[in-house]
Symmetry: C2
Subunit: 212 residues, 2 copies
Amino acid sequence: MERKEISKSVLKRLPGYLSYLKSLPEGSATYISATALANALGMGEVQVRKDLAMVCDGGRPKIGYLRERLIEDISQFLGYDNTTDAILIGAGKLGQALLGYGGFEAYGLNILAAFDAAPIAEQTQEGKPIYHISQLESFCRANNVLMGIITVPAMHAQQVCQQLIDNGIKAIWNFAPTHLDVPSNILVQNENMATSLAVLSMHLQAQIKEKK
Amino acid sequence: MERKEISKSVLKRLPGYLSYLKSLPEGSATYISATALANALGMGEVQVRKDLAMVCDGGRPKIGYLRERLIEDISQFLGYDNTTDAILIGAGKLGQALLGYGGFEAYGLNILAAFDAAPIAEQTQEGKPIYHISQLESFCRANNVLMGIITVPAMHAQQVCQQLIDNGIKAIWNFAPTHLDVPSNILVQNENMATSLAVLSMHLQAQIKEKK
């Protein structure tokens, strides 16, 4: 089917449908209705129907969607079935936690290697190689990598970002708590855990004050 | 000083300043100017000055801010110096990666224990306990925990969220790719890595198509 323009809010809900559909046991019914999906996820039926219409040809009236087909359609739409190779820069604690997290493969992400200005080991516990940052250029050229994950301290992030772009990276997943300046053809997705923690912590402080 | 209302965009930049200030070597100058900070982080001087004015008494003209004091003020403002105890629900791969990440202490987060519906071990490699979910209530009561981290599959997230709230949790860090319904006094901070990956992957697909 033709690919429609999709809003970010739909994009945010799709992984939830997918996760639910995949979690159903082997012997589940072949078809699933929008109503059943809506009920299971505590969402509105109309919204579920509209969201699914964005990514797959409508379900059959009174029967619903072919479950396996729906899983395929959403996965394909989200790009989870195209494996994307990525490299990670900054093999500190967060970088190593991400390298060690085996769950990204399900989302089509394959972290090939990590780079660090001062690698403390040649590879991670899981056997992923950690190279010196000076090897970035030759590695990117040899492996045609398009995605980079930044897990260096904030003050080094812009410099690392520029190095990635210079070596052909087009999409950057930024875990450093800082803004990155990039040309318009480069996408930066920020994952600011420090900010999240600050927001949560502020909320708790306010709650504790209220109680007093 | 009196606490001012602060915008989310300022809140997003503060961890960047803090990370830079902390990274300066031991023997660095006692004072640092807004200009120096702005240059180091590639930001506008006026913005840096305004941001810092929100969290600390202004620096001295032509001299700047007392570095150690600035670190203290930002940390205190962000709540990083109040350690917050948290529990984590869902000791799968992502949960274990977070449990194993030693970097949260710097942000004032202390994960006491993990809970799972089917714990595969009694503790993590790092020695954090993993309990059966049935022990949640007694643990929360005994430890007065206010923050919960959700790393279960999407379809179980709402139920887990309700259990946390029933046990006194006021702030939830949600890593499950789904929306959570909560009362107005509960704060949910979503960290949707699956969505981030989908956004990045879509950008790459579009770039690859353009090239063809």
